[in-house]
Symmetry: C2
Subunit: 498 residues, 2 copies
Amino acid sequence: MNHNMHEQQPLRQTIYYGTFIHTPTPTTLSVLEKTSIGVSSTGTIIFIEPLSPTDAASKHSWSTYTTTRTPSSTSFFFPGLIDTHTHASQYPNVGLFGSSTLLSWLETYTFPLESSYTSLARARTVYRRVVARTLSHGTTCAAYYATIHVPSTNLLADICHSRGQRALIGRVCMDRMSPEHYRDESPATALQHTKDVTAHIRALDPEGALIRPIVTPRFAPSCTSACLSTLSSYAESEDLWTQTHISENSSEIELVRSLFPGSPNYAGVYDCFDLLTPKTILAHAVHLTPEEVRLIAARGSKVSHCPVSNSALTSGAAEVRTLLDAGIDVGLGTDMSGGYSASVLEVARQAMLVSRVVALRDGERGRDGEKAKLGVEEVLYLATKGGARCVGLEGVVGGFEVGMEWDAQLVSLEKVDAGSFVDGAESERFGDEQGGYDDDVLDQTAGPVDIFGWESWPDLVAKWLYGGDDRNVLKVWVRGRLVHVLGGGALRERVEND
Amino acid sequence: MNHNMHEQQPLRQTIYYGTFIHTPTPTTLSVLEKTSIGVSSTGTIIFIEPLSPTDAASKHSWSTYTTTRTPSSTSFFFPGLIDTHTHASQYPNVGLFGSSTLLSWLETYTFPLESSYTSLARARTVYRRVVARTLSHGTTCAAYYATIHVPSTNLLADICHSRGQRALIGRVCMDRMSPEHYRDESPATALQHTKDVTAHIRALDPEGALIRPIVTPRFAPSCTSACLSTLSSYAESEDLWTQTHISENSSEIELVRSLFPGSPNYAGVYDCFDLLTPKTILAHAVHLTPEEVRLIAARGSKVSHCPVSNSALTSGAAEVRTLLDAGIDVGLGTDMSGGYSASVLEVARQAMLVSRVVALRDGERGRDGEKAKLGVEEVLYLATKGGARCVGLEGVVGGFEVGMEWDAQLVSLEKVDAGSFVDGAESERFGDEQGGYDDDVLDQTAGPVDIFGWESWPDLVAKWLYGGDDRNVLKVWVRGRLVHVLGGGALRERVEND
């Protein structure tokens, strides 16, 4: 693939043809077969037609275009996934947390690593890897936390821009309760360094078409009232989005209560500083009280659900159904490295499981347990269109609709060779089986999901959700640009058409 | 790889050299570096020496031998994984269960599929795939449920034998509460067909060195008292192992209560028919009462913990710590297709998370939550040595000890290129970053785990546990025979030494 693809690859208008699957609503899995989607040279979806590329082009008077087709009967286009909460800087610690919980984990694992990003060399290696990995998992947009360091945070923005991944880039602000060498000297420092990163990103991407800055007070315990207040004013004056954490863990909630005795609860702390806005992403929201849920809903703030992290760090099981019923926009977050995976698909999978933990708990408490369970369509909605609403890209990405931008992935699942897999065809003598097995029965480059041929499209999607990995992502596009091809040399050979 | 490897590959004595990691006890991760393990031509570990292959061979007067070395500083030998509970026949349904729970899932998804194994062609395709997949995930031994059909169950045994995977093969017995066309006509039928499979397996593998039959009453609701009694007598008279399910789901427990009103509880039903023995594997054990835990411990029966399935089917969270504290042997089971993955590593990962769900629940109930959490070493012990105790292979497999057989895998993790990853070496001008990214930064054939170079061996193991997949399994051996090489053509090129 070309270097610096975002700059160098000229776009041509393209017709994508085959099967398209997306979730226009939380409870709808829409499957469009034998469909052509026309994407303009600026990456916008111009038409969606149940026609062949030729007929669709003719209807829309397109004379020149490139065609990209699904390569098999078990492949489909799906919207790119949106990671609404993750810490790029913590990536090297993925999988490392022992039996710690939030506050001890921050001290033991997180602050020592984050504070090392004074090294640009370290930042470069890690951030390149994070962006490459998340793209390979089909993540077309991520809301990143970096560290307090301006140069390496700017570098993360550069890397996302260069690789063509949509991103919100957060320079972490924190002026207390972290090691002295890894802390903002004052609210003024937090503000100035946030401004520095904002300026860098605005120079890089003046329209914020791909990369946007996001104001990032780490969480209430890390920020003095003056810091929260300063950052809130700045975000409002510059019309910027804000991200922070809320109600992840019981001890953290106790800590917030002791630090802000005047506030009725955790959400109230942020609200007191006007940090609960329709442009605020709140990560976790595991232990919210009904009052807090109502407050967040009233303010229109968004929640990033991080089930992998919440399970791994023994934080708890967030009640997503309650949040959705209250009208709160919810997206999914990998929350690396509280979460152990860079894959939003893994997060969606764990969101299913965690919703079942909540269902069991509700049942034990005499409530209707069934209600809490999330369906395949729902978690995929959260991973795409729901996520888009959380990062300010509603109507722009997350689905296949005319006027949206082409942030998408080509998913392919492996079909088991069914040569002998026909009922009534078992004419081979029994006993022939004792010889003749070879390990070529598996193509491990194609990922671990096996399709036997009788599955419906919803079955295929469920199998992908529960078993899929980066090997099932053949290609990824952002704003119409090809930003990832299933890689590693030989694997690329599988991707035949383009 | 050769066809029919189990028959055709002559074994030579081999010295494995490099780093060996295993769990001699549930709380010990033992790391042996620069070590030679000598394996005889019959697959038995003869010596373990902290010496080079040459020196070790000299010390033990070995003149001819093959040497297999770990290929890098981030690879190690690990015992093969043991799947103590899985349904080979349900494999095509992996990932498909909607929001059903146990009893509705059986009716909607499971019985229709299982009943189709009258087709040997279907059985052949599916069973070949199951064995290939599980081997690719490092599973060297599995306790399988097949279906009620004798020919296809025999075929599963043949395939395991041919591919060289250790297996316990269970012909499923059930004489009530399933569709009429998928049910044993009588206890006598259940017995006769079990005998038929036993005879086939004994002809195939007279010493049971690799393949053993296991008596398999599906679960109490599926078996009349006469059926349970008949099978129990048969297992005892033939000195066979038995496997069944217990206490998976609340509705199932209610059903058992209504079907066996004379028994004090679910475990009591099996005990009444002398089915709780030291050679019994009980899958699930999610909702056991303290009395049942004591009974199972007293009888010496084993428990297969299936957290993936238990979470997916909303069955509940088994209290593994309670079982272990009672002295019960516990192993891990994928329980496909209640479970959505063929990987025991995935099960170990979910065992960590489910233990955290239990920890939170215990905390809410005023107990010491920390106690319930399982550690990395513990779940890997359950996946290896613990599993071996559950399937009657204690002292035979599950670890690296002189006298044990060589059931092992070569695990390899990808090291991130640290060329520019040295503190103080960030001499590159900032801004160079805007060009020059290419997607070759990722080798997707090497799996999703990234090692940065500063990690300890326990860190590497934790990263593998949380993020590893079949791409990290370069080779798998059973009884000294090579039974899997990371496959799919090109991927195999990565495996250089042998």
